[in-house]
């Protein structure tokens, strides 16, 4: 026999089972896995070690930044400047390394450059009160321009004394897994814990849910907003360093239009552009789905021109699915 208190204490979310079936992540992951199974059956080339290696590495870059983007989106903002931050970070590390500096110093300088981009974004948004869309749109233009100035718009493909180390960090693998995947795995675990179990995570979602309420309860909203944009820019900075090592050469069109793929990954993974919702795992799975779609179109011999159509449809389907689920649960 259950008392009233027990009945009240019992969560209405039901069993863990129904929670899994109700989550967008589950269905997106299912779609990605089904696509993988279908491709393994339809083509000889998908389930090869080489192709799977490429798929995992390619989606790691988008996945990394999508975690940063999910944080921004969960706080009710948007960061359009991540693609440009990628190229700025990659350019800073390659210019410094090609002029003879060691890897670690150059990498730290690249991260500092990315951090400054995020701090400028965050300060203008939080303290000056400008819309995130406008500030980061301006930064999208400014940061890429700065990368062009830094490199004189030349391709850089010689990275000085630590050349091999950079290529190993970004393009190498350990125990059969490419290095970017380790970084992505670590960041996913850390941010999953941070979102759910720390004050900072709680406040990010509180700001996204009701910024005014967050302010009234004494949360340092402005400081936290700056830290959110710094974090987002740092994920782009890390991705920029890894991409420089992976490609072995850096040009100023690196990361062009990447912000759109990253936002798509975050949204497919359950981040709500109205703020207050999103998970680190969702962002990664969203990025995985986009990469699997891209890869499958190539392997199936379908023109890559169709890629945008598939990804576009998936964004709309994922959000529509979320709407239907919300309407049902409100009944």
């Amino acid at each position: 026999m259950t008392t009233l208190e027990q009945a009240i204490g019992h969560s209405q979310h039901g069993s863990p089972f129904s929670r899994v079936f109700n989550s967008q992540i589950f269905w997106v992951l299912l779609a990605a896995l089904l696509a993988c199974v279908a491709l393994s059956l339809l083509t000889d080339s998908f389930a090869t070690q080489r192709n799977l290696f490429n798929v995992t590495r390619n989606f790691a870059f988008v996945g990394l930044i999508a975690i940063g983007m999910t944080t921004v989106i969960a706080s009710g903002g948007i960061d359009l400047s991540v693609g440009s931050t990628v190229v700025l970070s990659a350019m800073v590390i390659s210019v410094l390394m090609s002029s003879g500096n060691p890897f670690w110093i150059s990498a730290i300088a690249a991260l500092v450059a990315a951090g400054i981009v995020g701090a400028i974004n965050g300060t203008l948004i939080a303290y000056v009160g400008m819309p995130a869309f406008v500030v980061t749109l301006g930064m999208l233009s400014a940061a890429r321009s700065l990368a062009m100035v830094l490199s004189n718009n030349k391709m850089i493909w010689e990275f000085g004394p630590d050349h091999d180390l950079l290529l190993w960090v970004g393009g190498g693998s350990t125990l059969g897994l490419p290095h970017p995947i380790y970084v992505l795995g670590l960041l996913t675990i850390v941010m999953s814990v941070v979102f759910r179990w720390t004050r900072w995570g709680q406040y990010v979602f509180a700001i996204g849910g009701n910024e005014q309420a967050a302010t009234l309860t004494g949360i340092p909203v402005k400081r936290i907003k700056v830290s959110i944009y710094v974090f987002s820019a740092m994920t782009a900075g890390v991705a920029g360093i890894l991409m420089a090592g992976w490609l072995g050469s850096v040009t100023t069109n690196l990361g062009q239009a990447m912000e759109l793929t990253v936002i798509a990954a975050a949204v497919i993974g359950g981040a709500n552009l109205a703020g207050g919702q999103g998970t680190a795992l969702g962002a990664v799975i969203g990025a995985l789905l986009i990469e699997v779609i891209r890869n499958s179109l190539i392997l199936l011999g379908i023109s890559t021109f169709w890629q945008g159509m598939f990804i576009g449809c998936f964004i709309v389907i994922a959000v529509a699915f979320d709407r239907v689920r919300n309407l049902r649960s409100l009944d």
Binding site: I8, R196, T198, Q202, G209, T217, Q277
Partner: protein, 246 residues
């Protein structure tokens, strides 16, 4: 002893006199209804008590000790809590997270401080039990009724051991059944010895829970008398100015 005493409070914004020489007292556990037409100065008075504004003249004392608020945090420290009209809750968080927002308990795991959800759930369940509300700590606020949302907002004030709770139109936008629930919550606060200042336009609500009623008109206190010695007709007359003073 008075819990809250306002003496000769005046507030002007440039040439506009929003409040003129208002003096009021609230006893511990008393529920005071503050009424008046739009622009009568109710919100200004509440904002002065909550520390948002400083009065141009006059003084505030709590438990017979004079206080001077420079910002809302000063008022919170003295035990004054405000339940806002729009409730200031985060819809996407659970009831417990909202109750503890901004003052989450944490436990250290190997030097890393993590949120202590077990304590948050347990403590907020206790608070909801005190309020006799069927609100579940783990539920998202988005899925809650207006009455349950009020319970969450009021539980926040219990958590901080408030002495005085200021409520701005808590029954303005909810259904009739939920109004009864909210009025019950106000009784619970009063039972705990907490003084409540209720601002409302709804005459029946004010008469249902308030022991005294204060009426503001054009920045002046025109009446402050026990509810059982007044009537809705008289209060309406005082608000509109049909009755000069009582």
């Amino acid at each position: 002893m008075s819990r809250l005493r306002l003496s000769g409070i005046s507030k002007s914004f440039g040439a506009i006199q929003a409040l003129n020489d208002v003096s009021l007292e609230v006893a511990p556990g008393e529920v005071l209804g503050l009424m008046g037409d739009n622009g009568a100065g109710k919100s200004t008075l509440v904002k002065i008590v909550a520390g948002n504004f400083r009065p141009t003249h006059g003084s505030i004392s709590i438990d017979d000790t004079s206080v001077d608020f420079h910002r809302p945090l000063d008022a919170q420290v003295e035990g004054i809590e405000v339940v806002y009209q729009d409730l200031a809750l985060c819809d996407n968080l659970s009831a417990a997270s909202n109750v503890f927002l901004g003052r989450e308990p944490r436990r250290s795991f190997g030097g890393i401080k993590l949120l202590d959800y077990a304590t948050m759930y347990k403590r907020s369940a206790e608070l909801f039990a005190v309020l006799k509300s069927e609100t579940r700590p783990r539920d998202l606020v988005r899925r809650m009724s207006g009455g349950q949302r009020q319970a969450v907002a009021i539980a926040r004030t219990l958590l901080s051991n408030a002495k005085i709770v200021l409520m701005d139109e808590p029954t303005a936008a909810i259904s009739v059944r939920q109004v009864a629930e909210v009025l019950d919550l106000i009784h619970r606060l009063s039972d705990q010895g907490i003084s409540v200042v209720l601002i409302s336009h709804r005459m029946p609500d004010v008469f249902a829970v308030c022991s005294r009623i204060a009426v503001l008109r054009r920045g002046q206190l025109v009446a402050c008398k026990p509810a059982n010695e007044s009537s809705p007709e008289e209060v309406t007359g005082l608000i509109t100015g049909a009755i000069e003073t009582a």
